[in-house]
């Protein structure tokens, strides 16, 4: 008999910086005074060194903390803003997460509901799959999209009782596919082109998504009044409530759309809303998930008694949000304004494919070495152990550093070297358990680092090779936030 399939875990990554919408409006009101109505709240934005790959890694790590990685059989990454057209984006995530080489990976794209479609596919399989979704969309300055779009990533580990504790059983789903073009973005352009929101609301959300929700409830023979949480990922004010009412779901069941403090996070958004809803759900509750994009996906889950334990564990890793009103910096980091970067930015960042192939695990997986003769650990791995105590070559076994905590030994804030977000913080860190490295620091705000500060490693973009359209990834150290908040309630 087939075992029960459902969600084993979730992971969330919402970047620390929250761009204040008022700062967008203040700079653009001379041109677009109509944005005033949207100039409330804030949206989560990534730094210059993040993209859907790095964001997915962070959500993925959050998701599988404490879980034996060998149970993961496949991995999917859903996004409408994948950085590579021909290099497996999910494959990079797999390397950064140090997952087994014998793993099936897939990139999912093409629609804002690619995240839920990938999740639904995984729920219908019998193997354990890590489903990741992340988006980092560009929007033109002074556009409605710029006000609305936020950055985030979400991860779900899908599997059965045999792999771990299922926190929410999958009761079933229903999809429709209709080529409804309320907005689009061609492969070769950066920006969406969108029709007026009223058209999307009336003809898209209310009709297509509405009928898919009722279709799902009817197909699964679930009474709408039994839905405790309706996760309706339609980032338009009042629409989730209207859809709930149309299908007979109580309006109190409608989940927060997270627009006020995070923004519309694209392909990740339905999953982000589902994850934050799980954070606040009780065992034995039915959750409906509905997402839209040239048709719709609707799924229904029922939480189990294992949810609370996972919620406690996952809450401990949430980051603390920081208010950000530096709108010009945001524009620069999105490539929307051209700043004079100076000659120091001219360094050729060409990455030889050969050396990346040789050092794949060292670079992407932050794998160092442990000498089988002396027990010394070090980064990076070398043929001879660093202190020369053994003259035998090749004694070092793989030793992963990415999930080890570290302390700052020395550091600086460098205003001379080129950084898209000056000053560039970097320094030497000592890992707990041995090993050290000189490394860049990420997400430092207000001098919050000093000798002795606790750090954790994060996977980031190291540099861009603008000549050849490549981007290099590596690990950086970031301060461990001691304060914890639930991501959904972050208001900075």
């Amino acid at each position: 008999m087939k075992q029960k399939t459902g969600l084993l875990s979730y992971g969330i990554y919402v970047p620390r910086r929250r761009l204040q919408r008022s700062s967008i409006y203040d700079s653009n009101k001379w041109f677009a005074p109509g944005l005033r109505g949207l100039a409330k709240g804030e949206k989560a934005i990534t730094g210059w060194d993040e993209d859907p790959i790095t964001m997915a890694v962070e959500a993925g790590r959050h998701c599988i903390q404490g879980i034996d990685r060998s149970i993961v059989h496949s991995l999917s990454l859903a996004s409408t803003t994948l950085p590579f057209a021909d290099r497996s984006n999910s494959g990079v995530v797999k390397e950064a997460m140090n997952l087994n080489d014998e793993l099936s990976v897939s990139d999912r794209s093409g629609s804002l509901r690619c995240g839920t479609t990938a999740l639904m596919d995984a729920l219908q399989k019998e193997q354990t799959q890590l489903c990741l979704a992340a988006d980092r969309r560009k929007a033109r300055a002074a556009s409605i999209q710029e006000m609305n779009y936020g950055d985030a990533s979400t991860a779900f580990l899908v599997g059965s009782d045999s792999d771990g504790d299922v926190i929410a059983n999958y009761l079933g789903g229903h999809s429709t596919s209709i080529d409804f073009v309320d907005h689009f973005r061609s492969s070769d352009v950066d920006f969406d082109y969108a029709w007026e929101p009223r058209f999307l609301r009336d003809e898209g959300y209310l009709k297509i998504l509405g009928s898919t929700i009722t279709g799902a409830l009817s197909k699964l023979d679930i009474d709408a009044s039994d839905i405790a949480h309706a996760v309706i990922a339609t980032p338009a004010r009042g629409v989730p409530q209207k859809l709930a009412a149309l299908s007979g779901i109580a309006t109190e069941a409608v989940a927060d759309t997270l627009i006020a403090n995070i923004g519309d996070t694209g392909a990740s958004h339905p999953l982000l809303m589902l994850a934050t809803t799980l954070q606040n759900a009780q065992p034995g509750e039915k959750i409906l998930l509905a997402s839209f994009g040239q048709g719709a996906d609707v799924m229904v889950f029922e939480t189990t008694q294992h949810l609370s334990k996972l919620n406690q564990q996952q809450a401990n890793l949430a980051t603390v949000a920081i208010k950000d009103d530096n709108y010009p910096r945001y524009l620069f980091h999105r490539g929307l304004i051209d700043i004079e970067k100076g000659m120091r930015a001219e360094l050729d960042e060409k990455q030889p494919g050969t050396s990346l192939a040789r050092d794949r695990k060292t670079v992407l997986g932050l794998i160092g070495g442990k000498c089988s003769e002396t027990g010394e650990v070090q980064y990076p791995k070398t043929e001879l152990v660093f202190n020369g105590e053994s003259r035998t070559a090749g004694t070092q076994e793989d030793y992963p550093f990415a999930d080890r905590s570290a302390k700052v030994l020395s550091f600086t804030a460098d205003s001379l070297t080129y950084s898209p977000d000056p000053p560039s913080y970097y320094g030497m860190i000592d890992f707990v358990g041995g090993g050290r490295m000189v490394v860049e620091f990420a997400d430092i705000e207000n001098d919050e680092v000093d000798v002795g500060s606790d750090m954790r490693m994060v996977f980031r973009i190291k540099s861009f090779d603008e000549l050849r359209g490549f981007r290099k990834y590596f690990w950086k150290a970031t301060p461990v936030n001691t304060k914890t908040t639930s991501t959904a309630q972050e208001t900075s």
């Binding site: 060292t362 205003s415 090993g435």
Partner: protein
């Protein structure tokens, strides 16, 4: 330990170009400027040179590959010219090549010359460069001040020195060097600064402000070396001899183990011990008369005083503030103005330091001349970054 180099090689002549923003000069002209002074000082003809070493740090803005550019610029006919690069110890490395050639008997008279055209970069500071394919994937592309600034955070944390107090000691280092540089016609920066100017300068890499950083300039310097016997036969009387030359390279211990604490230079400490043994120095703070150390940044000079065992560990900041290293102090440091005022044309720096020590030993340092005659003079270079570097120490003094 090996027998060492002490008193086996004499300096026959030295030369140093005017350092600065030499917009008018190519590397060829800078080399010739230093070389002509040295060859006149040595009192020999060019064909008497048996071999030459050329030290340069950066290729892109400089002479290009090989020793050929020096052979052409100086018209050194039919001898071998070897180009050496060893980060900021490149100048000293070229001298080591020449000294070892003479000591071995392979050459009677050898030339060491170093040059750098940093002002062809187009911006202040050192050019950004790669460190090899593997490092470029995992290393930090920081600036030189950023790399050395980390010393300050580790030093104050280890020794419990107040941040402002350490900054004041660092400022004193720079004020002192500007005082000295103002008296040196060959220095690039000849302005006097006060402590407030140093303390309030724009931040370059926390906690290093503008005046904590050495200048950036073009320059060249050279030395002609021979055996003491040949020097005497050429009529030299006050012969300056090489007492010690040591170079130590990091082998990864600092960067990959967990023992090093980031507050000092492991390589310098080892090189100092070896150099003192080679030169017969047992009490450095009493026997070393002058030091020219690698003051790429004020904090580097400060911690180097401890690494050379001239200050007690954790006390250099106090010694600095008490004037121990001022021109009229117990052991003057950078009596010529140092990298601070000469700037740091990589290939030239090590030789420029030896040049000052040589002038001081011969009483030819003009307005800067130390009144009490120096006995042993030390010069020191550091290349790379605190966690992975090459350190060189040279000691010269009157031939025994």
């Amino acid at each position: 330990m090996a027998k060492g180099i002490k008193d086996k090689v004499a300096i026959l002549g030295m030369g140093c170009a005017k350092f600065g923003e030499r917009w008018d000069c190519d590397a060829d002209q800078l080399m010739l400027e230093a070389f002509e002074e040295a060859i006149a000082d040595a009192g020999i003809e060019v064909p008497q040179l048996d071999a030459a070493w050329l030290g340069v740090g950066f290729d892109a803005q400089n002479v290009g590959p090989s020793g050929i550019p020096a052979a052409i610029a100086l018209r050194l006919p039919d001898i071998g010219v070897t180009k050496v690069e060893n980060y900021c110890a490149s100048g000293t490395e070229s001298l080591r090549g020449a000294v070892y050639a003479v000591a071995s008997g392979a050459a009677d008279i050898a030339l060491a010359i170093g040059v750098e055209k940093l002002k062809d970069t187009g911006y202040g500071g050192l050019p950004t460069r790669t460190r090899g394919t593997r490092w470029d994937m995992i290393g930090v592309t920081g600036s030189a001040p950023g790399n050395f600034a980390q010393l300050a955070s580790a030093y104050r944390s280890k020794h419990g020195v107040d941040k402002d107090e350490l900054k004041r000691a660092m400022a004193h280092v720079s004020v002192k060097s500007h005082d000295n540089g103002s008296k040196n016609p060959k220095a690039h920066l000849r302005n006097v600064i006060d402590i407030d100017k140093a303390l309030n300068a724009p931040m370059i890499a926390e906690p290093l402000g503008l005046y904590d950083c050495c200048g950036v300039s073009d320059g060249a310097a050279c030395a002609i070396v021979t055996t003491p016997e040949i020097a005497k036969s050429l009529g030299k009387t006050d012969i300056v001899a090489i007492k010690a030359m040591q170079i130590v390279s990091s082998s990864g211990w600092e960067l990959q183990g967990n023992e090093w604490d980031g507050s000092y230079f492991h390589t310098t400490r080892i090189a100092a011990k070896k150099a003192y043994e080679e030169a017969g120095v047992t009490k450095p703070s009493e026997q070393i008369s002058l030091t020219e150390v690698h003051d790429c940044f004020s904090i580097t000079e400060l911690v180097t005083m401890e690494d050379l065992f001239i200050s007690e560990e954790g006390q250099a900041w106090n010694d600095v503030l008490n004037g121990k290293f001022d021109a009229d102090g117990q052991v003057p440091c950078q009596i010529d103005g140092g990298l601070k005022c000469f700037g740091h044309p990589i290939g030239a720096s090590g030789l420029r330091m030896v040049y000052e020590n040589y002038l001081q030993l011969l009483g030819r340092a003009g307005e800067r001349q130390r009144k009490e005659p120096p006995s042993l003079c030390l010069s020191h270079n550091l290349g790379g970054m605190p966690s992975q570097n090459v350190s060189s120490i040279s000691i010269i003094g009157p031939l025994a």
